[in-house]
Symmetry: C2
Subunit: 107 residues, 2 copies
């Protein structure tokens, strides 16, 4: 494996980080964590997301290989193996956010 | 501790997640991981960051309590205890990005 470093501007790891960073991508990944979801169910679970933002986030997730598109219209979106592997660090991050939410809200 | 859920729009955990999400915040936190850094050194380490983006990111990090401002002009920025605690999930995320960079770049 090549050694990469997100501190370097031209590093592929930076591109990978750009794909996964952003609140909505994390919310969508967490929304799919417990199994495939139809668009409408995913939208209901992801509080406050607009149709446009959900569509854009899903398109980026599919392009990036994190999520599999439904086989048929109205079918369910599901995490790919790569998307599943991302749940470990994403869960660590959301757990941190949930643990320190009070502390951050007080500021 | 209150139970929080980043899937909920009005949850303080969502606000916490918004603070830490974004490529530049992660790059800046990683840049401070090995100790305090002056603004100019941090800018040099964070490949591709503009002065404006570094200033904005540092201001958000200071406001959010993740980073301590220098005591004197030209001094060093340092992670707070809260910022240090964030390094664990952030490192998990950047390690994932570094590990899967090739796979993502091929797409």
């Amino acid at each position: 494996m090549t050694e990469y470093d997100v501190l370097l501007a031209d590093c592929p790891a930076r591109t990978a980080l750009e794909l996964i960073s952003g609140t909505w991508m994390i919310v969508v990944l967490v929304g799919l964590a417990h199994g495939p979801q139809r668009y409408s169910d995913l939208r209901r679970r992801s509080g406050g997301i607009t149709k446009k933002m959900l569509s854009q986030t899903l398109a980026r997730a599919v392009d990036g290989g994190l999520v599999r598109r439904p086989d048929q219209r109205g079918g369910a979106y599901a995490l790919s193996a790569l998307g599943e592997s991302l749940l470990v660090p994403v869960t660590a991050l959301t757990t941190w956010a949930e643990t320190h939410a009070d502390e951050l809200a007080e500021r």
